[in-house]
Point group: C2
Chain length 474, copies 2
């Protein structure tokens, strides 16, 4: 009886891997039988088959059936709205009831990714000969997939490329939106590799009550803020989907290829789509997946299909790339590697992701020095005590203090940050002084950004957004 069997013990295999193993094992049993192999040999193969079936049931919750690939490709997950404690994380919702924010260690286990540990950080430092970025040192980028493989290849002179993106749902970008771009810029600098940046204006058109013209305009405006992060036009291609799809037969061909290999059942399981969702939403994940494959950019990669992709992104985008990694081997492309960042907290506290529509929820890239000061003083959730006396006596809590969290993202000096933590915890540093420190960090940073954005001409945007060869030979 099936129920008496133990599985082979392959819990690390994905449902798709198991499905393929089962197909192969079934084939083996049939061959042995047709060749009239010794009974013992057939029995052993059948026993093996049954064990795989047990594993398959464990991983997918469903019985194996030849010809029916697994419908849910997230290991150990039942779709997007899985609650783990009180955290919910998917591309459209992030919420937690903890003031410290989402429990990222639990998320790594749930998503089946790997922790970016000190050893990996050290290795990146060693290979690049650079101090690892503060986002690595401080656990902002905390999780990865296949990063060791990217570094192995890099060490044996095999290049890779970077891919990140943004959904242009409004003109207004806040400092949190810069996190992936700041980090990607650093990765590009230290590894010297090509970068593609996708602006999913088609997605925003499908999801929001906006016209295509509005979404496209937001894409171009957002491109200016992205360019202002300092990207090199000779190494970077920025594209709007609404534009590039209609300019690149190779991109569309990859989209269709992915769309052939993903079922509605799968996107339902991953993204929680329902029957009343429009068919545009349902097929969109293939469009976010396609830039993970170098053949989507023949002008850059000289038609090479085998270059690996590394995607730095916020952890809420991982479902798209779990799907992409599941599809990749079935269409003979390499799986993209990933580096995941934590969420950037709202000024009001780490319980939610920030909203671009609430001007007081964060510091926007268009804020004046005065607005920055007022917002932080008025809205930044404090971990300090109610009175100066109490604060001096018991100290503050930096782990729930939004000003301290923001400094973790933007204050470069480790010693200074450490001292602030100690002094705030001990009560030597008051909330007002902590806020002043954040204000003095953000004001020049935003001013510099605004200055650089002003320098970004329409001509330069057009250059970035023109499909072309970059400064790399493949």
């Amino acid at each position: 009886k099936m129920t008496d069997l133990q599985g082979v013990g392959s819990p690390d295999l994905t449902s798709t891997d198991l499905y393929e193993k089962l197909n192969a094992q079934g084939e083996k049993v049939r061959t042995l039988k047709s060749e009239k192999a010794p009974k013992a040999e057939i029995d052993a193969a059948v026993q093996e088959l049954l064990k795989f079936k047990v594993d398959y049931k464990t991983v997918t919750g469903q019985d194996y059936k030849a010809g029916c690939p697994p419908t849910n490709i997230i290991p150990n997950s039942n779709g997007p709205a899985v609650e783990d404690g009180d955290d919910q994380v998917d591309p459209w919702n992030v919420s937690t009831t903890s003031a410290k924010g989402v429990d990222y260690d639990k998320l790594i286990v749930r998503f089946g990714s790997s922790k970016i540990d000190q050893e990996l950080i050290n290795r990146i430092g060693r290979i690049t000969g650079q101090t690892p970025h503060r986002f690595l040192r401080r656990g902002v980028f905390f999780s990865h997939r296949d990063m060791q493989q990217v570094l192995d290849a890099y060490e044996s002179k095999k290049s890779f490329f970077l891919y990140t993106g943004r959904g242009p749902s409004s003109e207004a970008m806040h400092v949190g939106h810069l996190i992936p771009f700041i980090f990607t810029k650093w990765l590009q600098d230290v590894f010297d590799v090509p970068l593609v940046i996708q602006l999913t204006d088609d997605e925003k058109y499908l999801w929001k009550d906006l016209t295509q013209e509005e979404c496209y305009r937001f894409a171009v405006e957002n491109a200016k803020d992205i360019i202002a992060c300092g990207f090199d036009v000779n190494k970077t291609f920025i594209f709007s989907d609404l534009d590039y799809m209609g300019m690149s037969p190779s991109f569309y061909r990859n989209v269709v290829k992915i769309q052939k290999h993903v079922t509605f059942n799968q996107v339902k399981g991953i993204f929680g789509f329902t029957d009343s969702d429009c068919i545009g939403k349902i097929s969109f994940p293939a469009i976010q997946a396609a830039p993970s494959f170098s053949s989507s950019f023949p002008q850059i990669f000289n038609d090479r299909k085998d270059l690996q992709c590394l995607i730095p992104c916020a952890i809420d985008q991982d479902p798209y790339f779990r799907m992409t990694r599941d599809v990749a081997p079935r269409i003979s492309y390499p799986k993209p590697a990933l580096m995941h960042s934590t969420f950037f907290p709202a000024l009001q506290g780490a319980q939610t992701k920030m909203s671009a529509s609430d001007p007081n929820s964060s510091i926007f890239l268009t804020d004046t020095p005065k607005q920055i000061k007022n917002k932080i003083n008025k809205h930044a959730f404090s971990g300090g005590k109610d009175t100066i006396e109490e604060h001096r006596k018991y100290g503050g809590n930096p782990d729930v203090d939004v000003s301290f969290m923001y400094l973790t993202f933007f204050l470069e000096d480790d010693c200074q940050l450490q001292k602030i933590r100690q002094d705030y915890t001990s009560g030597a540093l008051l909330t007002g002084e902590l806020k002043k420190c954040l204000i003095e960090t953000l004001q020049p940073m935003i001013a510099t950004h605004q200055e650089r954005r002003k320098q970004v001409t329409d001509e330069l945007v057009k250059q970035f957004m023109t499909p072309r060869k970059l400064e790399f030979n493949f």
Copy 2:
């Protein structure tokens, strides 16, 4: 009680029209109530609302619910596999148990289209000053939508454009595949309007076990047979989806616009998709819909969005365009008009649509004169009697005789066709003689086609398939 009410009597309204009427009527009732209108007035409006609800339930089989548009947009139908008697007609299956073929009058009622009657045929003749094509005279194109509207506009000097297409699933095309192209060529000649021809190589890739390269190659090979029908390169644009999508931002933008306005529920109702279908199939109908809108071809129509489209196609393609017509007003585009053809019967009989994969099921465009002769003599289902004596005595039945049916399609001379019908029915004409007549009609027709196809150079194909302005000014 709802059940005691009679409907308003609007069975000719589609579910979507009724849904909109219900929304409007609900709004009216709310307004009257909030304005404290006289009770009698409110009651009358409520009574009207309830009547519409009865009609809605009759048409959709579902209760009206504000905010939930009808899920099935085919009037009086429950999806693709609806059996009417023994006929089944959808884009992938056509079957009937009657040797005379599908009952087309019933199909007109089921699909909610209009019959192409003698009056309409006469009007086309009058307006164009040409004898209506034999496909009109003989009921091959038997059904239409909004054709009167196209002619009204044409008479007041408002132009339209033609759109037809083909799914390139193999290199081999048979004579049946030419029907829409022969007719479209005639329409283009007599109305002098632009024509776009879509080759859905992406669809064939998604549905069949073929590579994109194969599908694209079939598209180009099929384009040669289509060009050999005599189309004018200055008036005709032929495109492969895999190519054109990646060459035209306007086309992709329309595809996304349509995809935003069609739900999975709708395509499930229309095409019978299931949760285990790939997301490519699910979103494909938008790609077949998009060429119905002139803004998909800005190079031809100078960015005009308001030109009406007329689509000549086989009746099995109608579901795509019912969907398109449902979407059109919601995205502010004109609904395409349609002309539907009957199916071309297999040599073995009218019970099934022909199959491009069975070489004996029809006459292929590559057949030699000898093959044509042998296939007809050996495989064409006969309506004649078993012996010459019986045939002479009782006569044959042209209505089930495939050779006679083929002559209906391809013999131009009405008198000759009428005489053949009479003589075959009376027994004066034997099956062998009837077949000889068909052989002598098809052999030169196919030979001429092959001759013209040979003249189609790769350069000419490329010209036809290059997005460009045509010989019309808009």
